[in-house]
């Protein structure tokens, strides 16, 4: 085996993937494992999207797509940005990618030279940092503590920006905390960025439609239109329409950036599956009632989970505005010993003992850059959630 490329040795395998695999191994032994580790909606894809996929296959829409996406889907994305975000993007300012992940990968690979810094508010989806590293960049995290609702404070952002800052990542509603930003909060962030014209902004709005209690989503290029010419707005079909397996992400941004990203994607994968593109065009243009109905279902689950977790000794769970995650603090459990005799020194110890003793899979906060926390995905049915939270309560009660 030749030594792997240096760039790859900087990259680690995602902890949520490791937990999911571990949970699957236990399940394969016949154990009833409840997984709260995966960031994937449990709902089916919308029927009109499925129908559009059928039609596309039968009609022979099975040829190489343009590298930046089919015209049909790009027009649907254009309408979506206008309808949901009040953003006007021309067709050459839009591109379609294999999942939202590839939008971010393309942007980093197309723009980051060695040593460029990427500012990432923490806790954060670990892939942001890993992708920045693959591209030779330096991830720099900005702590967003629980006592501020896991939100980015403008003064912290301002202090973190250096002459080497190339990108700032924004992800609200956030994976893993569920925290979202109000318009006023976003305006304060935008005001900082207006002072630093060399900084580019990437906003990952994947959880846009999963937001509760009347909280209103906003995105930075709409809140501060003067930032639009250095903002990449990333979104996709996975979370909103429960279409993870179809692998469709998309983004809007300045033409020069999109062109560079297209060059990058042209070398990595070329175009995206035509069948998936047809399905997502239908999802974006079709009736949106399902999205609202599901958001209401998620809200009920969130309320259930937050309440039950707060009843577990040693856990303190913030109630977030959106996404389908909660990020409970487990500081009260550290230093104790589980019923099975495992010493809990870290959140990794907690997550592993919880999986091995109570068969509930979660992901440790350290995988998202903040300890001692757990990430719990409530994208599973109420019965499972109730059972899982009951097991967590029991696990905590039995700590000594």
């Amino acid at each position: 085996m030749p030594a792997l490329a240096e760039r790859l040795s900087r990259v680690s395998v995602s902890a949520s993937v490791i937990m999911t695999i571990k949970a699957r191994e236990l399940a394969a032994q016949g154990i009833k494992v409840i997984s709260l580790a995966s960031g994937e909606p449990d709902f089916p894809s919308p029927p009109h999207a499925i129908e559009a996929a059928h039609q596309a296959a039968l009609a022979g829409d099975t040829k190489y797509p343009p590298q930046d996406g089919t015209r049909r889907l790009k027009e649907a994305v254009q309408r979506k940005f206008k309808r949901d975000n009040n953003l006007d993007y021309a067709l050459d300012e839009i591109m379609v990618t294999n999942g939202g992940k590839q939008s971010i990968f393309n942007a980093f690979m197309a723009t980051i030279d060695p040593g460029d810094e990427v500012l990432i508010p923490a806790p954060f989806w670990i892939s942001y940092a890993e992708m920045a590293k693959v591209a030779g960049g330096v991830p720099v995290t900005i702590n967003c503590p629980q006592n501020n609702g896991f939100k980015l404070r403008p003064e912290d952002l301002d202090a973190a920006i250096t002459p080497k800052t190339k990108w700032v990542m924004l992800n609200f509603p956030n994976n893993p905390t569920g925290a979202a930003c109000s318009r006023a909060e976003m305006q304060a962030i935008a005001a900082v960025l207006m002072k630093h014209p060399h900084v580019w902004i990437m906003t990952d709005d994947m959880y846009e439609h999963l937001i509760y209690d009347g909280f209103e989503f906003c995105t930075i290029a709409d809140v501060e239109p003067r930032l639009k010419d250095r903002t990449l707005t990333v979104n996709g079909a996975s979370k909103t329409y429960a279409m993870t397996g179809w692998r469709i992400g998309f983004c809007g941004g300045p033409k020069a950036l999109i062109k560079g990203m297209m060059n990058m994607q042209g070398q990595a994968t070329a175009g995206v599956s035509t069948i998936s593109q047809a399905a997502v065009a239908a999802a974006l243009d079709g009736p949106q009632d399902l999205v609202r109905e599901r958001a209401e279902e998620y809200r009920q689950r969130r309320d259930l989970v937050v309440e039950m977790l707060n009843a577990a000794p040693g856990i303190s769970c913030h109630k977030p505005e959106g996404a389908f995650y909660v990020f409970p603090n487990i500081a009260g459990c550290i230093g104790k010993t589980s019923k099975g005799g495992r010493k809990i020194e870290t959140d990794s110890d907690f997550a592993m003992a919880l999986l091995e003793e109570k068969y509930v899979a979660t992901v440790q906060g350290t995988a998202y850059g903040m300890s001692p926390y757990l990430r719990i995905s409530y994208a599973t049915n109420t019965e499972n959630l109730r059972e899982a939270c009951g097991r967590i309560q029991e696990f905590c009660r039995e700590l000594s």
Binding site: K63, E130, M243, T269, T274
Partner: protein
Amino acid sequence: MKLIADRLDRISPSLTIAMTAKARALKAAGKDVIGLSSGEPDFDTPRNVKDAAIAAIERGETKYTDVAGTTELRKAICTKFKRDSGIDYTPEEILVATGGKQVIFDALVATINPGDEAIIPAPCWVSYPDIVALAEGTPVIVQCGQNAGFKMTGEQLEAAITPKTKWLILNNPCNPTGAAYNAAELKALTDVLMRHPHVWIFTDDIYEKLAYDGFKPATVLEVEPRLKDRTVTMNGCSKAYAMTGWRIGFAGAPISLIKAMDKLQSQSTSNTSSVSQAAAVEALTGPQESIEDMRKVYERRRNMVVDMLNAAPGLRCHKPEGAFYVFPDMRGCIGKTTAGGKKIETDEDFTIALLEEAGVATVHGAAFLSPGHFRISYATSDAALSEACTRIQKFCAGMK
């Protein structure tokens, strides 16, 4: 701070895309253009494959899969490698990617450090050197002329290997020449490789099924199984099953390399569309008759195109063993002037004048690192091919 990273400057702009764009513009302006520039089967995806995709959607196979692909598809790929080439791979030695292109990207970006060399026989698909350059490696181009049937000899390979050689990239049958290696020809190369244990081999066998006159293209591990611990055997569904738009490529390789490729892919796109993966299972394991039906048609077209091109003054067209391309030598036209008054100094002048004056879109040889030729794809109807070749004959006959 400039926006675009240095790595993108290392990639040459795609000349194929430039030609396609020009042809599209002429067509849009109402000109009668016959396109012979695209490397895509004109057949539709087989019905059984489409039905399998639809059935998978109905079963709800629309969720994330393992990054490396579903177990079912990886098993089907093992079956395919065993059945077609006698190679034993386990599912852990298989990775599924978004098109063959991503397999190349994953393998090269995961392994190449700055200054590592990759030997590429030319004429070649330009994505190989581009991806090598993107990964900061050095493409080492070995010219294999028409007189050698566009094939590399053992001596040429031996002379090109240095201590810095990391990869040899083979493409059998080849885009753009259609040249293919049988077992005896390949043995000459594998004998050299056995003497240089530091060299890894990437073999792109995507055109495997398209070979004529009873020719059997061989793959490296069929010929020399002892190279298995340093060979990537790449294949896909695009060409054999007319599934370009579905974006399914795959590879068999040693586990350590597959793991590294999996890690990189987990940070760029994750899994390939679950629906496309289900379609690929049916393509690989269902009835295979459609391949032979398509192959026969391609063979008839190849014979017609080669005969007609050799009747054009100034052209000399080698009859290749496979793929759906021919790569005629046009140097007999250099120095002449077209009927439209254009002086032909290069292969690019030739293809542009051919497009503008005769309405036939092809790609010039420099786009495949072999000037003095042009590429014709015969993956289009017999009628269109016959008309296009007649136009080429007239175009050449009209030169002075």
